[in-house]
């Protein structure tokens, strides 16, 4: 019997028993939809985590002097960092950017319209760029500004809203603790997970030199001091290695003896993000396993129905054998039937799973994505179920004795 005829035979036998076909396929439909949904939730979460891990925030370290050390009355207070530290760190392999900054958390910023408390930072040109911040108007701080200790600032859009009532602030004057600066650019507030206290939208950035000379003041121990250093690694860089190198540089620069505790701290959010990713992965495996189990149950349902069908159609099988059907013809007839029902249900299940994923797109908690790989995987598993669970009933049919089969009531 030709494969085409066999397929037609399988199809007509499914059509002749519509209710049974529907009920049998339901298990597979649900199973495939579940596998598809689970895998795509898993994939969505994975991509989300990957996005997080490759974001600037999670690729960055921030190095601060250790405040605790100073408070517990050590003989030597914690020194600030030097600009040369930043230069050295910038040269570590895998470092995308290193930038030093000065900071004063509550400064009063004022214009003719009003005043507000804000974070005031002294930065270099890399700072805003590496923070993933977007220039909305005007220009970034330049190295020339640092050289000349120019009285210019970049402000956050929060400041623009409050102190300029949304008019174009470029070139206008703004006062930081009553010291006049000229607005040079507007940018978005940093999307950082490092807390800036209550003024998360209010930022003013000046060149390091001007911030130091005009507002924050110098340091008695270190010329051209830096309050904190932000280091951003390349995507996929070896972060533990970078951290190790930073430690070597800092210990040498700060003359910390071997074995002595460091007087600075390196902060990174990467650690918990990686742990987070791991637990997300475990959850998505768990979900996929649940989907697989429902598919398995669906498969057992198919096998059950096929066994019933073989028993019910014993006389038909005997007749077909008497008419010259070979064992292989009978085998492929029933196997094709099982595979066909699984494949069709698989397609419907995929559609259902896709529909489900479209619905869940509205929710923020669950991230699902369509990927051909996942579609193929869940569809392939339906096919496999058809082959595996169709095999036993088909073999039973093919092994029937034609005489007994014909006599079957």
């Amino acid at each position: 019997m030709s494969p085409f005829t066999t397929l037609g035979l399988a199809a007509s036998s499914l059509i002749e028993r519509p209710l049974r076909t529907l009920l049998t396929s339901l298990g597979i439909i649900i199973g495939v939809a579940a596998v598809y949904a689970m895998l795509s939730i898993g994939e969505g979460t994975k991509r989300e985590v990957e996005k997080q891990l490759s974001s600037m925030a999670s690729r960055s370290f921030t190095i601060w002097p250790d405040w605790n050390r100073r408070r517990t009355s050590q003989s030597k207070p914690s020194f600030p960092f030097k600009e040369s530290d930043v230069d050295e760190i910038r040269n570590i392999a895998g470092v995308f950017a290193a930038t030093g900054s000065l900071q004063r958390n509550s400064t009063t910023i004022s214009t003719e319209i009003g005043d507000t408390a804000a974070n005031f930072l002294g930065v270099d040109p890399d700072y805003l760029k590496s923070g993933g911040q977007e220039m909305l108007a005007g220009e970034n701080i330049s190295y020339a500004d640092i050289e000349q200790s120019a009285p210019v600032v970049v402000i956050s859009d929060g400041i623009q809203k409050t102190l300029f009532k949304n008019q174009d602030p470029i070139g206008l004057s703004i006062k930081v603790n009553n010291i006049a600066f000229t607005v040079k650019g507007v940018t978005t507030a940093p999307d950082s997970n490092i807390s800036f206290g209550g003024n998360a939208d209010m930022f003013v950035w000046a060149p390091t030199s001007s911030a130091r000379n005009r507002v924050i003041g110098g340091n008695p121990y270190v010329r051209n001091h830096i309050r904190s250093i932000r280091v951003i690694g390349d995507i996929g860089a070896n972060f533990p290695k970078i951290e190790q190198e930073i430690n070597i540089i800092m210990r040498r620069s700060r003359d910390i003896k071997t074995g002595a505790p460091p007087d600075y701290r390196i902060f990174s959010s990467r650690g918990w993000q990686e742990r987070n990713a791991k637990s997300q992965k475990t959850i998505s495996y768990l979900l996929a396993a649940m989907g697989a189990i429902s598919l398995l149950v669906g498969g057992v349902g198919v096998m059950n129905i096929m066994l019933v069908s073989v028993t019910e159609r014993t006389r038909e099988i005997g007749l077909r054998m008497a008419m010259g059907a070979q064992k292989s013809d009978i085998m492929s007839q029933f196997l094709t039937e099982a595979i066909l029902i699984c494949v069709l249900s698989g397609l419907i299940g995929l559609g259902a799973g896709y529909g489900l994923s479209q619905i869940s797109l509205g929710s923020e908690e669950i991230k699902m994505v369509f990927s051909p790989k996942i579609a193929l995987l869940s569809f392939g598993s339906a096919l496999l179920i058809g082959v595996i669970f169709g095999f036993l009933p088909a073999r039973r049919a093919a092994r029937l004795n034609p005489i007994e089969a014909l006599r079957h009531e």
Binding site: S2, L319, R320, A322, M323, Q326, S328, I403
Partner: protein
């Protein structure tokens, strides 16, 4: 003399029932020539169906040998036997054995679906077979929409569709009234006159009367084998 189409030599069939042995066939030797119309009669349990299943390649003897067209059925593989059934034998059963959800046309095409290589004129041959049994106008009917006699005629058309050399009919009139039985037997007689070898099992003398040769079984043995003038 023509060589026999069917030649059975000392056939036995033994069923072991616990300790005892049942001889369904006990030393049956038989020759049937091409074109014969043979009736096999005998009491219930005498081994008629057992013999017929063996002739059709559905069953194998415990000992002895069956040759059809000189070929030994005992040494054929399952695959070859299936081909033999498909090409050489046409079966007609007491209970018709039609597929209830398929049309007469589909039912009749069954042997041709299993023919290798696949014939390209299946529809034509099915129509011709249905014409031969006088049911050309019922091709799209399902078995439930046909009378018993018509169903058996569809079954005969199915047996004919594959152009077999031998038609094996096990009590083809067993489920029919006597008037319909006569019509079916007349049909078989007509087909026999067109050259097909026919072997019919029956209980009824009226049915056996249509045959040219009557073989009687008792307890797995042939007790008489004679020619007669057909009705």
């Amino acid at each position: 003399m023509k060589p026999p189409l069917i030649k059975c030599n000392d056939l036995t069939k033994v069923y072991k029932m616990g300790q005892s042995e049942v001889y369904a066939l006990n030393g049956v030797s038989l020759e049937i020539t091409k074109g014969e119309f043979v009736a096999i009669i005998g009491s219930s349990g005498s081994g008629k169906s057992t013999l017929m299943n063996m002739l059709g390649g559905l069953d194998k003897p415990s000992s002895g040998e069956i040759r059809i067209n000189g070929e030994n059925l005992g040494t054929m593989s399952g695959k070859k036997l299936a081909r033999f059934r498909n090409a050489t034998i046409g079966f007609v059963f007491q209970q018709f054995q039609l597929l209830p959800k398929k049309t007469a046309h589909k039912n009749v095409s069954l042997p041709l679906q299993y023919r290798r290589p696949k014939p390209d004129n299946i529809d034509v041959r099915v129509k011709k077979s249905l014409e031969m049994v006088g049911l050309a106008d019922r091709a799209t009917h399902r078995p439930t929409e046909l009378s018993g006699g018509q169903q058996q005629r569809v079954a005969i058309a199915r047996a004919l569709a594959g152009s077999p050399q031998v038609l094996l009919a096990d009590e083809p009139t067993g489920a029919l009234d006597s008037k319909t039985s006569k019509a079916i037997m007349a049909l078989l007689q007509d087909l026999n006159r067109q050259g097909i070898t026919i072997i019919v099992i029956t209980h009824e003398d009226e049915v056996a009367a249509y045959a040219e040769r009557v073989i009687e079984f008792r307890d797995g043995k042939i007790i008489s084998d004679h020619l007669q003038k057909a009705a």
